[in-house]
Symmetry: C2
Subunit: 192 residues, 2 copies
DNA sequence: ATAATGACTATAATACTATAACGGTCAATT
DNA sequence: AATTGACCGTTATAGTATTATAGTCATTAT
């Protein structure tokens, strides 16, 4: 029953953050949606920011599940990389939360939101890093710094999925897999 | 003599934009520094934005010169890529203009400035694109879309030079050359 | 004639102030 | 022991008065 109340609050906050963003959501609103008194929120959370952080923690866990679910043991590293990132992207599109928070950072720059989005990015990079380390061990990838490789691959993925389409046309999943493979795995140099 | 006045104005505006940014620079200020009446500015330029655009046009030309100057015919594509980008970066650090304008975009989002910075980025990408096309023709690079390759290489360079150092430590020019070569040219895949 | 000028204007940004809304607390209530 | 909403100090917002700014144009200088 105690967990029930906390869950109500989390769900209410999640809903409101997704619809209106972090700043535009008031504690009174969360309390109203959750059907609890405002004070009750503070028995489970220390502040508004704390509510956001807990929600992101749950969200990141779900995201990790989704990414794991997209991976097929027998498939190549690149294929799984793209499958996982694509699954994460789709997950984020389905749940408005990240989209709304990204918007908020873009046009208001709310510091608390900047911080949690950075955390989400770090988590994704860490996930990729693990997969890279494994791929190196099984000999699929050459020795390289897993942290930096993860960072660069993630950035390239975002460049391909989001930034490229702003100036040219959008790419589908297979095209992206192809490009990542071409540029990152095989390289575009010609051996002499 | 007519060119002299226009040049005065351009130099005055350049100085003021570099010190105070675009928004914080007033036409009265430009006129004062250039030692002309404000009305005179409008015989050479149609608007404040026009002044900015002409300055950027000159700036991009200088940048191109600098980039060309950094290139050594006998050197490899990657080496020249890094030399050129490094020269551009140093050029931008020496002349405060770009740094000030980037700041302004970050904390005020002035639309006119966003636009010219995008133009500068496009110009750099076009420069890289030319070099890539040449490298493909002489067989140093595999066949690939030069526009996208230029875009991705530029972004990776920025990721390495700017974004990585925010979370970890800065990399020097040789390290960056090494990474670009490793990830982009040779690839990190292991042939079976 | 032509080019240059700065007082002038309409508009947009800023500073100021009064008001409302907010996050967080806590005495009263269940 | 858990829950609550009226309450408080602070911050954000709205409304308004004032200033500053981009751009014009009649006047002046060349």
């Amino acid at each position: 029953m105690i967990q029930d109340k906390k869950l109500n609050i989390i769900n209410a906050a999640m809903k409101s953050f997704s619809h209106f963003g972090y700043k535009a959501t008031t504690m009174d609103q969360i309390a109203k949606i959750a059907q609890v008194g405002k004070g009750t929120i503070y028995t489970y959370f220390s502040s508004k920011e704390d509510v956001l952080n807990e929600i992101i923690k749950l969200y990141v866990n779900e995201m990790r599940q989704v990414a794991r679910g997209a991976i097929i043991q027998e498939d190549s590293f690149v294929k799984n990389f793209n499958a996982a990132l694509h699954a994460i992207t789709k997950f984020q599109e389905e749940h408005e939360l990240m989209i709304k928070l990204s918007q908020e950072v873009k046009d208001m720059g709310t510091p608390e939101v900047i911080e949690v989005l950075q955390e989400v990015e770090d988590e994704i990079c860490e996930f990729i890093e693990m997969k890279i380390t494994a791929a190196i061990q099984r000999g699929e990838l050459q020795k390289c710094d897993p942290k930096m490789t993860a960072f660069l691959m993630f950035k390239m993925y975002i460049n391909l999925v989001n930034d490229w389409k702003e100036r040219h046309q959008a790419l589908d999943q297979d095209e992206i897999t192809g490009f990542i493979k071409m540029y990152f795995i095989e390289g575009i140099g010609n051996k002499k």
